[in-house]
């Protein structure tokens, strides 16, 4: 087994009186698609926001390749190789595809100390990435606001690849997509793992999860209640883990 890229230990998050996460331990490995499942409010989104540097944890620690890290901002997380593709896609609809792919990490040349964008080079890199992903986007200069949901996912994935992300977190990437586009995004997800990326996938669609995930982790009421290899579990067991009907979960919730 490869060494984990990221280890989370005893992660907790409180928002005032509200406890969103308690004692979460998790390992994320390169080349593996890890699915996070759970009902609404189970803590999945809070957990990935901590990984993404958008929220600091209230307790616990994160280790990346064995070293403890503390993210003050998404920029810190990105610098450590973590890219997050949020459900609401943090893309700027008014900017072009190339501009979005490089946003916050633009290629620039300094003229008299002023940073100027290397527009042609960024455009070229994005053309290459789009081709590699087989994304079928005819016009890379088009504003992202004019793209379909699947195309926007492809842009977000391009962005992650371009940042040389070692861990890509995808929050419900297929939630708003048509069937054909969903297939494409799932294929992209596998391709990312194939390139040696660690992928964390949040989804409500269990069949989809079984299609792409190597490992499944279930959250419930702010706790991690189960972790299974996708090959060693099945649809029914996962559902019972999510709803709390599974005996393991009942036992766990009784002791707490």
């Amino acid at each position: 087994m490869t060494a984990p890229f990221l280890v989370a230990r005893n992660i907790a998050k409180r928002f005032g009186a509200l406890t969103a996460l308690v004692d979460v331990d998790l390992e994320i490995r390169p080349g593996e698609v890890l699915a996070l499942l759970g009902d609404n409010g189970a803590g999945k989104s809070t957990f990935i926001k901590i990984l993404a540097g958008a929220h600091p944890p209230s307790d616990g620690e994160l280790l990346i390749e064995g070293n403890a890290v503390a993210f003050a901002s998404p920029k810190d997380a990105a610098a450590s190789g973590i890219a997050t593709i949020f459900q609401e896609l943090a893309l700027s609809e008014n900017l072009s595809i190339a501009e979005n792919v490089f946003l916050g990490r633009e290629l620039k040349r300094s003229i008299f100390g002023i940073p100027f964008l290397k527009r042609a080079e960024m455009r070229q890199r994005v053309d290459g990435l789009l081709q590699e992903l087989d994304a079928h986007i005819s016009d890379p200069e088009a504003p992202v606001g004019s793209l379909s949901g699947g195309q926007r996912q492809a842009v977000a994935i391009c962005r992650a690849l371009n940042l040389n992300a070692k861990l890509v977190i995808m929050d419900e990437p297929t939630a708003a997509l048509a069937v054909a586009e969903t297939r494409k995004v799932l294929a992209l997800t596998r391709r990312l793992a194939g390139r040696g990326c660690a992928v964390v996938l949040i989804s409500h669609n269990i069949s989809e999860v079984f299609e792409v995930a190597d490992r499944i982790v279930v959250f419930r009421r702010g706790r991690k209640v189960a972790e299974r290899l996708a090959a060693e579990t099945n649809h029914e067991e996962v559902v019972s883990l999510i709803t709390g009907a599974h005996p393991d979960v009942r036992a766990l919730e009784k002791t707490n």
Partner: protein, 328 residues
Amino acid sequence: MNVVRQSGTGVFSMNGREWSLLVACLLAIVIFSVASPHYATPGNAVTVLRNSVELLLIGLGMTLLLAMGGIDVSIGIVMGLAAIAIGRILGADGSPFVALVAGPLVGALLGCVTAAVVVLGRVPAIVGTLGLLGVYRTAVFVLLGGQWLSGLPSSLTDLLAATVLGIPVPALVIAVAYLIVWLALRRTPYGLHLLAIGNSEEKARLSGIPVIKVRFLTFVISGVLTGIAATFYVATYRNVEMSIGSTSALDAIAAVILGGTSILGGRCSLLGTVLGVLLLRILQNGLLLIGVPSLWQPVVTGVLIIGVLGFEAVSNRLPLTRFQRARA
């Protein structure tokens, strides 16, 4: 599709809105020429251009602010305070070169104050700058001691009335300011970050953009441009009146919106702002010459703002729907 492009356009490439504004300017000139015998004279053309100088500079900064989803309704009084500083230096027979530096410097400092309130203090821009407007208005009154600062020496005026290779200094300064702001907006990471913040501050933050730095800097840039505007104001009028800048914010916002910059942020046009300023000044000057009292000028400006925004709301020309329409 060209209409929806943010960048990739040249310094002067025009979209539909900008052509309409140019046509509107020409149309207004033709109508006023027919209506008033005093209108179509070289002297009046110079007057209109002269009257546009301060608003062009303030308008460039306001374009950046609105594109970022910000606004500054105190900008006219910021010009007033900078003008008082310049006036005091000239009044004390200070060097005009010192006065030249004072405008942008005071503008930058006041830009820092605005940014401290709006960006660091997280007060919404419209409310924060409205509060500053109240404070600054009284500051102008106190600093002027209730009377005009007048009879200033002509040293600064002589300096800025010069021409370089036949081009008047104000035109040169505006051209350089336009070019610098255009380059910053369309050719540097700063411009992309500004537009991304205007689209959604939260998304910009998640993209790793230094949101606070970009917003702070933009208020300072607007302050500097306003300070330069104050320099031209004092050089031209050689006095500072109590009501200085009282319509500048209204005029600037009107011109910028006319030019096609979105009041919601994320989309802007510098060339549109220039044409918007010219249209506004042509209308104000023309109406005055056909006998409409200047009291009515803010009414015209206000109606233009309401008209443009109303038209945009009705025809659903807000950014996203525009993109969708362009695809359809």
